[in-house]
Structure formats: C-alpha cells, structure tokens
Symmetry: D3
C-alpha cells in the first residue's frame, strides 16, 4: 500500500513502462511516506477501439 | 469528467461499440449537464472464462 | 451485465442521479441488446480534494 | 450483488480458476447472507510486464 | 497479490465484514496457492442512492 | 489520459495529497510523454475497517 493504477493507451515501449513504474513509485513514496517496497503499480492498457472522448472512440477519429 | 466504464462480455461488434459510446455519452451529458467533449467512456471486455455468476463461470455453463 | 460505473464529482442532485441511471441504462440496453433488468449502474462520487487535472486538485484551483 | 473482483497474475489453470470462483462465492454468501446466485465474480489477469512492486516490474526481476 | 475487491451495499455489521475478509482470503489462498499473508481484500461499500438495477436506484424502489 | 488512481489509507494531510498529485503527474508526464494537463489523478481513500491483509482487517490488528 498504496496501490497505484495507471490507465493509458497501449503502445508505450517496455523502456517507458519500466521508467514509469520506477518514477511513480518514487513520487508516491516521497509524498506519502510509504516505503517503496510496499507500493504496487498496475499498468492498465486500453486499445483505441475501447476508449472514447466526446462520444467518439479514438479508433473512429 | 464524468468517466464512464462499461464492463461487459467480449463479442459485441465494432458497430455496437461505436453506438454504445455515442449514446451513453449523450445520456450522461443530458442528465448531468457535463459537456460531451469532457466525458470519457471506457469499454472493459471480459472473457467467459473470467466471469462467474452463482459460483460458476459462463464458460462452464 | 453489463456493469456501468459513472465516476463524477459529488454535488449532483438526487433528481439528476435518478435521471442519469435511467437514461444510461436505456442507452446501454438499446445498443448492446442486453435486457435493462440485467444492467447495473454504480455512481462513484469524488470530492474536489481527491481529484486532480494537470497536477492540481480541483480544491486548489 | 455483491460483486467480487480478483486481480492476479495470469498463469493459473482453468481448473484453479473454476475452483476459485466457486469457493469465493461460497465464502461471500456464507458471511454476508447474499444468495449465491446474486454474487458475481470477475477475474482480472495481469501480465508480469504490467505489475510492479517496489518500483520494479515482475518481468524485470 | 492477489488483490480482491468486494463491492456491496453498506449496512453489514463489523462482525460480518471481519468474517468476510477471513473466509475470502482462505478461499483465494486455497485455490490459487498464494500465501494468505500476500492477499489483500478491499471492501467497497455503496449507498442505495448510488446503485441501480434495471435503471432504478435501490433508494427509489 | 493517462488516468492514475492512488488507493491508500485515509489520514494523509491535505498538504501530502497536494504534493502527491503534483509529483505523480510529473512522473507520468516525464516517462510517457503525455502533456501534464491531460493527466488526471484520483485519490481513493480506504478506512482501516475496509482493508485486510492476510485475512485480518487493519482495524482488527
């Protein structure tokens, strides 16, 4: 704890995801005081056909 | 904002999903007063082997 | 099924929330073919001190 | 209702998932008094490249 | 891990919730092989005015 | 987008939550390339009576 979920479009590289979880964990630890080894990060990737803004899916724009 | 998530079984057509996000966005905008372009819709598709009712997965029925 | 979650700021009236779940359920039923009585809607209300855009909470703007 | 979500790493067998939803449904029914047929269970499987503890993804350990 | 979320109406007693997390943890441990001390359970309580079935909130029925 | 949810125990100060959303947004922007103004952060606070590890709620330990 804390548990962090990052929901974003698929397509980031492995290197970006590796840096993302490292930097987010550091930011959460620094500001909440939780030890880094207790912080979990989940990446939740969406496809463009399952995400819409303004009533239109990204795959339809 | 608002953020809407629709969790459902996989298998709907692309045309159904396109209509779904359009109609849901309109319904949310009309009833909450939020402008449509601020409303996000996420479709979260489940497989029948990961969803159970009454203790039995749909893939086992 | 489907299961719909609407995440939004607190402060809508009871009448708005009543209309919201009714219209959203109709939109989902019409576009997915699921019978209305099988559709669940959850309203998830956030406070302005627990929601941020651009790194700033709404309560700090 | 209740709605139960089990988030775990992918890789469990079909037999394990079948037993999981059966036993969890029984545990929830017994302790909350909800009838089993009203209880839904969702299994949400993560890959090792989308889950991190201590700032390091399982796929990087 | 696993992480289990139980979403249900508010109103269960403290004793019911204590039994719920104990029995659910045992069920998940037994069927997935995960050690109990690694299993987290979250209880997510809804009010009747934020939950609808068939387009009607429980507070309106 | 991305959408970030931080689930943690209630009890952090307003100042901690303000710093949390600022630092997390910066970390996500830097590593994913998404502009900060498109990044939303939700804080989801749990009570000790609704969170269990190892089958025991924090309020029972």
């Amino acid at each position: 704890m804390p548990y962090v979920t990052v929901k974003m479009l698929e397509g980031r590289t492995d290197e970006q995801k590796r840096a993302l979880v490292e930097k987010v964990t550091a930011a959460v630890s620094e500001t909440t005081g939780a030890p880094a080894e207790k912080i979990a990060v989940f990446i939740d990737e969406m496809s463009k056909s399952n995400y819409a803004l303004g009533g239109k899916r990204l795959s339809d724009q």
